[in-house]
């Protein structure tokens, strides 16, 4: 499982260009920074109030109690960090000033609809910043395992309440890379462990395979 999550995170890291400003959700997205090459400088936005997130603090005596990330962990920041209040932080998000956001998902539909915040009848968590992130970021990347306990997560239509309508641009799973395009969900890369039939069987909507289908490489 750890291998699968790292495989997904490694592939997500290739989406970032030098100079990008990005926001990373919890789960697999938080693994992405360690796979970003040294010559690609990315500024990580933390929606609770700054741009310039670095790493989690691991030594108790290095903690600054005024600096947490959006998951509540004490963190280090890069020298170019800028702190701001929540109104400014979400202005940056909604205003299109993030190049990408990487989030997990419970369900994604072939038209880019996303459900990742609530399962009716289960414990309530709340959307936090997710609804703002998906409407605001220039590119919405979903990083997730392809299925959940054998159940399809990529569907013709989401059955759970939505986080956003037609917001997802790219889905990256352990099986491959899929782009949401006007003609449907297009597989652009397939991992060598799987066949076209495998990925289609694990998906709840019709997949289109790109004419120039590539191998999803891990390095």
């Amino acid at each position: 499982m750890a291998d699968i999550k790292e495989r997904i995170a490694k592939r997500v890291a290739k989406e970032f260009k030098d100079g990008d400003v990005v926001n990373l959700g919890i789960g697999i997205p938080t693994l992405v920074p360690k796979f970003i090459p040294d010559d690609v400088v990315v500024t990580v936005h933390s929606e609770n109030g700054f741009a310039g997130l670095d790493t989690t603090v691991t030594e108790l005596d290095k903690i600054n109690v005024d600096i947490i990330d959006s998951g509540g962990a004490w963190v280090n920041v890069v020298p170019r960090v800028k702190y701001f209040d929540s109104a400014t932080s979400f202005g940056i998000i909604r205003g299109g000033h993030l190049d990408a956001t990487v989030l997990g998902a419970m369900q994604v539909a072939e038209n880019g609809d996303l459900a990742n915040w609530i399962v009716p009848g289960k414990k309530v968590a709340g959307m936090g910043g997710a609804m703002d992130l998906v409407v605001g970021a220039k590119k919405v990347i979903i990083a997730m395992t392809h299925t959940q306990k054998g159940n399809h997560k990529i569907l013709e239509k989401c059955t759970l309440p939505l986080t956003g309508e037609k917001v997802v641009n790219l889905i990256i799973t352990e099986m491959g890379v899929m782009e949401v395009r006007p003609e449907g969900l297009v597989v652009t890369e397939l991992h060598p462990d799987y066949t076209k039939e495998d990925i289609q069987a694990a998906t709840g909507c019709k997949l289109i395979f790109a004419d120039d289908l590539k191998v999803m490489e891990e390095e």
């Binding site: 109030g49 005024d66 600096i67 702190y83 209040d85 929540s86 968590a125 703002d132």
Partner: protein, 241 residues
């Protein structure tokens, strides 16, 4: 002439009555005015509505074994002082879902960026804000914190949700440095909701770690104007881990 707005934490909560609505700054406890929260618990008011990002931490959270006690709004939840919360996230402090389940607490969820703008609109006299956030989701179809239907508006071919302003009876905020007039600055990641909540209530009261004399610092040092602040509490502690 009230250019010395300094009062005690107990005086800061003297006007809080059962059933009132409070806006409280902070994000997972970071930037929440603990000395005022403690005074609210001492006063023991009930049936509060709390507007905040989240419910702080319960005892035992978060990492590093640092949560020796509950933190921030977590203390109000422990004391069962809240009937309704207006928040963006209710999944971290387990007391929230426990009290939803036993029926003693209800909630209205608001996307985080929308929450900040509703408060800012409440503070600054706007009739509402138009946002694309939440279109096509339950935010469009469910009622708002006061049971009103949502309104969508189309402008130049683009749809938006109209989000109404949000105001409270009192706003309790945390400053790192303030002067006696209430000009203040919240350091690093403690700005969060402390800035957009300034002025969103009949009484905006800040608790500050450090109090300085008027004129002691360059005015540019402060981010928020004391004209938005009614009272200042001195002696907000630094969180101990």
């Amino acid at each position: 002439m009230a250019i010395n707005k300094v009062i005690t934490a107990d005086e800061a909560v003297a006007g809080v009555q059962d059933g009132m609505t409070l806006a409280i700054g902070g994000f997972l406890g970071t930037g929440t005015p603990e000395c005022i929260i403690d005074a609210l618990v001492r006063k023991g008011v009930k049936h509060l509505t709390v507007i905040a990002n989240d419910g702080g931490f319960a005892e035992g959270q978060p990492a590093f074994g640092a949560g020796k006690t509950s933190r921030g709004i977590g203390k109000l939840l422990d004391a069962h002082m809240i009937d309704h919360v207006v928040m963006s996230h209710v999944g971290v402090n387990p007391r929230l879902n426990e009290q939803f389940a036993d029926g003693s607490l209800t909630y209205t969820l608001v996307p985080q960026g929308t929450l900040a703008e509703k408060l800012r609109a409440g503070a600054f006299g706007l009739g509402g804000v138009l946002t694309p956030t939440g279109l096509g989701t339950p935010m469009e179809t469910e009622k708002d914190e006061l049971g009103r239907d949502k309104i969508t508006i189309e402008i130049d071919g683009k749809r938006f949700l109209l989000e109404r302003p949000l105001r409270a009876d009192s706003a309790f905020l945390r400053a790192s440095v303030a002067d006696r007039f209430g000009n203040f600055m919240s350091a690093k990641a403690t700005k969060n909701f402390n800035y957009p909540m300034a002025g969103c209530a009949d009484h905006t009261i800040i608790a500050t770690e450090k109090l300085v004399e008027i004129g002691e610092l360059d005015p540019d040092y402060f981010d928020i104007a004391g004209v938005l602040v009614e009272s200042v509490v001195e002696g907000e502690p630094v969180w101990q881990i």
